[in-house]
């Protein structure tokens, strides 16, 4: 017999109610996975000898995401961080970026080195997928309207700043440069920019050498050849460990000449492996490790509590601020598809140590400092 619809309705009500009660009952025991989470991807070199930059960046990003989630997420949605290791290998970088896009990340925070960023740029632009790099500073990507944005200045600012400092303040005239080809996009560019500005200011780069980081590199030979050229000073563009190695050998050879390093090497590993050999080296930086700005002091405390008794580095700060830029933008306009436009429209952001800008090409503008190492600590010279 056909039961009329109304009867079904009347019977369906208690049945559904019972099923509902049972569901609630069991749901109380079963935990449902959070499908609402907003996914943010991070990519950097997390393994290998030059992994410190990537790991610092990852730590900064991690702390940012944890801070955001503790404050209730973005627009009420919790943030899920997916981290990937590009192993400093272009193929791996492409692979993990695709993975992040496929896994539904709304943005990639990365890469940490310019070479990796350059390697993945075509696919990022093709997919119109926003990549916000904490530390990619190659000048090759400056002034281009694409899907690559960064919270760091193009390195010309720093190289110009360095060149100016060494020629005006230190009165150096004959410089040597050495750079690591394993992050060529960054290092070669960096060395060339420095040379250009330094020579523009009347100096001369009399010696240039390069190496590709690996077990076969003999830093002893590199130092010996370099010292033969008798430069007034040296600029090393390499990762922390390799920079430390070069410094060790320069000092072992008895030279006390001024050494300039790049931001790439500004991690605790430099101090650890450099020891006395890195005392007094000079670099430029966007952060002041001794800053007493409240935002930064609180951040520093949280960071040390979270990752052990270590100082946050510029890579940590940049990673942290990159996530905060994304958070700001998404709070203004929750549509991830318009993230790039929202960021570019906002233009100014509150960094941990003050305001910085991101221009219409996605390049940041921040204040820079001259930093040196005193008693195994990075210390700002020109406050």
């Amino acid at each position: 017999m056909k039961i009329p619809l109304t009867q079904w309705k009347r019977t369906a009500f208690p049945v559904l109610m019972t099923i509902f009660c049972a569901t609630v009952f069991f749901a109380g025991i079963i935990d449902a996975a959070d499908k609402n989470a907003l996914k943010i991807g991070f990519v950097g070199g997390l393994t290998g000898k030059s992994s410190d930059l990537g790991i610092q960046g990852r730590n900064g990003v991690t702390l940012a995401v944890e801070d955001i989630n503790q404050q209730g997420g973005i627009n009420g949605r919790p943030v899920q961080l997916i981290t990937k290791d590009d192993k400093q290998d272009p193929q791996t970088a492409l692979k993990v970026d695709r993975e992040l896009i496929d896994e539904g990340a709304v943005v990639i925070i990365g890469h940490m080195t310019s070479t990796m960023t350059e390697a993945v740029l075509p696919i990022i632009n093709e997919k119109k997928f926003l990549m916000l790099s904490p530390t990619t500073s190659t000048n090759k990507l400056t002034g281009i309207d694409d899907y690559f944005l960064r919270v760091i200045n193009p390195n010309t600012q720093l190289t110009n700043f360095k060149a100016d400092y060494v020629s005006r303040n230190m009165k150096l005239r004959r410089m040597a440069t050495i750079y690591d080809l394993s992050n060529r996009a960054y290092s070669e560019d960096y060395a060339a920019n420095f040379k250009s500005e330094f020579e523009h200011l009347g100096g001369k780069v009399i010696y240039t050498d390069s190496f590709k980081a690996g077990p076969d590199v003999s830093f002893k030979d590199i130092a010996r050849k370099l010292l033969k050229a008798k430069p007034d000073g040296l600029l090393i563009v390499a990762g922390a460990v390799n920079t430390a190695m070069v410094c060790q050998h320069i000092r072992m050879a008895g030279s006390k000449m001024p050494i300039l390093i790049s931001g790439w090497a500004q991690t605790p590993d430099l101090l650890r492996h450099g020891g006395p050999a890195v005392e007094g080296i000079i670099t430029t930086q966007y952060i002041d490790h001794d800053s007493t700005a409240k935002l930064y002091a609180d951040f520093r405390e949280r960071y040390r509590a979270r990752f052990g008794d270590v100082e946050p580095t510029f890579a940590v700060v940049m990673g942290y601020e990159a996530v905060m830029v994304v958070k700001d933008a998404l709070s203004r306009n929750p549509d991830p598809k318009q993230l790039k436009e929202t960021i570019l429209k906002q233009k100014t952001f509150n960094g941990l140590q003050g305001v910085f800008e991101i221009d219409s090409y996605g390049d940041a503008k921040r204040r820079a400092y001259i930093v040196t190492v005193i008693k195994n600590r990075f210390t700002v010279v020109n406050k």
Partner: protein, 635 residues
């Protein structure tokens, strides 16, 4: 009708399901809770034991490593067994035997690398005083120092250093963390359980997922680490990547590492999950079963009941059809049957009522008598066509009329009411009523009183017959008699009235007629000898005979005394002979019996009316009378 929030169906269905499902749910809940607690305790106890044994193993490993460096110290520094030139190769040999060391370095008091294995000329002479192990081992501890992990310059993999202060410097061993992994990998504590080690900073140094080690992931946020008060052993739960974990911790005192045996809670509680699933399925089956039973049972009860409710509603609305019902429980069936019988009874009664109403309505409407119903106050409620015709009003006019308006004397209406109040009903109550045109009518009313439910008089209903004409005829008939009382034939007036009428008809229809004039012979003799009684009897016999001889349509009359006249309609000369013969034959039949006191005989004269030569009745009568006398003379 009162609106109920829940139907019987809802309540019963809910109750059934609750009755079936609730015990299962409660039992399931209790069982799951108690099993969960048991498993939780068991897993934790087991894992803690594993963590502790692992911790002991790692302590042994660290002690072995320390022992190795002490051996080196003893051999090279204290006893100086080894020639300076051969120290590097001695160290190489140590590495070959003690695979846990990636490298061994001997530093001088400034932190400069003096000897090392594997030998690397780039590193010899380098200053490692920036490394934590050097500053700490020399300045503070004078004790073995276990570093936190870092990326080895040589291998590029996470490494930690064990440093011991020695005379004139320090000996540093770079310990390969892979060794820790070989220890932790042996742990089998369930399918998804695994062992990991974190250093005092919270960085993972051993983990089945090697990338976590090589990426130097830090678990400090999980609050394992409390540098003020390291947890020696214990159980905690933590949440990572939306997954809960049960972790059992044990501290390695030398290095303040924490050995963690961790198992995803859902894995640890796999049995619970299974039991829960089982109960969920069980509960679902019970609920489904309950729903099934509810459906079968309720359908059996409620469908006929709902049907019944609908049927009753339909009956209330005036339709008496009962649908064919599926059989249900006895009580419901009985209820249904009784309702059905009730409905049938109501239906047949109503039909009878309707039939009766129809009948009476027909009677009412078709009656030649005027029938009406009024209220007590005299307002007309109902009336038939005859009433309207009688009074000459239209329907609309009647409805605005007062009953008094229909009386010649309105006071008669009050009289009528008074009578009705007293008697309740009246019969053939004579009253003079008034037509619309003011004409008076003699009427008789038969009426009854209508009572309201409370017993009060609500109105009257009655039948009115107009007897005005009847009264007039009564009077007329009284003065005008057409029949002869003795014989039942027409008397002289009757005969002439009808015959004259017939003459007119015959004239029009051109029909022949015969007028018979008959006289009973010897009437005087019968009267005189036998008495008037016998004479009357003879006259009656003659009348009977005449009725026998002539047709019914013929007009037969007794003209007075012993004279009779018959007008035979549509009769010719041939008919005359037949009639005469028949008359004589019947007379003979009457006279034949023996012992009759008198003899019947008639003298007859016949006049023929021919349409072609019309004549008056009087002429015909005179002609027939003359012929009759002639006949009598001949006798």
């Amino acid at each position: 009708m009162k609106k109920h929030a829940f139907s019987l169906r809802s309540i019963l269905t809910f109750s059934f399901i609750l009755l079936g499902g609730l015990p299962v749910l409660i039992m399931g809940f209790i069982a799951i809770k108690s099993i969960s607690a048991d498993i939780d305790m068991e897993v934790r106890a087991k894992n803690l034991l594993i963590a502790q044994s692992l911790s002991s193993e790692i302590q042994a490993f660290l002690n072995d490593s320390l022992y190795t460096l002490r051996l080196v110290e003893n051999t090279i520094i204290k006893k100086q067994y080894i020639n300076k030139n051969q120290i590097n190769s001695y160290l190489e040999n140590i590495l070959m035997v003690h695979l846990e060391f990636d490298s061994v370095v001997i530093l001088d008091e400034k932190g400069t690398v003096k000897f090392m294995a594997p030998y690397n000329q780039d590193v010899i002479g380098m200053n490692l005083s920036g490394q934590a192990f050097f500053s700490l081992v020399n300045r503070q501890y004078k004790q073995p120092y276990w570093s936190s992990t870092f990326i080895s310059l040589q291998t590029g993999t996470p490494t930690l250093t064990l440093a011991i202060p020695v005379k004139g410097g320090a000996i540093v061993g770079y310990l390969n963390l892979a060794t820790l992994n070989t220890i932790t990998d042996r742990i089998q504590a369930g399918r998804l359980a695994y062992a990991m080690i974190i250093d005092r900073e919270g960085t993972i140094i051993a983990h089945p997922d090697r990338s976590k080690v090589s990426e130097r992931q830090n678990l400090r946020h999980l609050k394992f680490i409390d540098q003020e008060k390291p947890l020696l052993k214990g159980n905690i739960t933590y949440r990572e990547d939306s997954r809960d974990y049960l972790a059992s911790l044990s501290l390695v005192p030398q290095t303040q590492w924490t050995v963690i045996i961790t198992v995803p809670a859902d894995e640890a509680f796999a049995l619970v999950t299974r039991v829960r699933t089982l109960f969920a399925v069980g509960a679902a089956i019970v609920v489904l079963l309950a729903v099934g039973i509810v459906f079968l049972s309720l359908r059996k009860v409620l469908t006929p009941l709902s049907q019944l409710v609908r049927d009753v509603r339909r009956i209330a609305d005036g339709s008496y059809t009962f649908e064919q019902k599926p059989s249900s429980y006895k009580e419901v069936d009985e209820l249904t049957d009784n309702f059905q019988r009730m409905a049938e009874a109501i239906q047949s009664r109503e039909e009878a009522l309707q039939e009766s109403e129809r009948k009476f309505r027909t009677l009412f409407e078709n009656s030649r008598d005027a029938i009406y119903i009024t209220t007590k106050e005299g307002k007309f409620i109902d009336f038939n066509l005859a009433y309207l015709e009688l009074f000459g009003y239209t329907k609309e006019e009647i409805l605005t009329l007062h009953a008094k308006d229909t009386y010649m004397d309105p006071a008669d209406r009050d009289l009528f009411k008074k009578t009705m109040e007293k008697k309740g009903s009246i019969k053939d109550y004579e009253v003079k009523l008034r037509r619309k045109n003011g004409q008076q009518m003699d009427c008789i009313i038969s009426a009854t009183t209508r009572y309201a439910d409370d017993g009060d008089i609500s109105g009257y209903q009655g039948i009115i017959r107009d007897i005005t004409e009847q009264k007039r005829l009564e009077e007329q008939l009284h003065t005008m008699s057409l029949t002869d009382e003795l014989t039942g034939l027409y008397n002289r007036r009757g005969f002439f009235t009808l015959a004259q009428q017939q003459m007119k008809i015959a004239e029009r229809t051109k029909k022949d007629m015969l007028l018979f004039f008959a006289d009973l012979d010897k009437m005087k003799h019968i009267n005189d000898t036998l008495g008037h009684q016998e004479g009357d009897k003879a006259l009656v016999e003659i009348a009977t005979i005449l009725k026998e001889v002539f047709r019914e349509s013929d007009i037969i009359g007794r003209m007075g005394g012993d004279e009779f006249a018959i007008l035979a309609i549509d009769a010719t000369d041939e008919t005359r002979e037949v009639l005469i013969d028949r008359l004589h034959n019947i007379l003979d039949d009457y006279n034949r019996p023996e012992g009759r006191s008198y003899h019947l005989a008639l003298s007859i004269g016949i006049a023929h009316y021919k349409p072609e030569t019309p004549s008056t009745l009087d002429k015909l009568m005179a002609q027939a009378d003359a012929l009759m006398y002639e006949d009598k003379r001949k006798k």
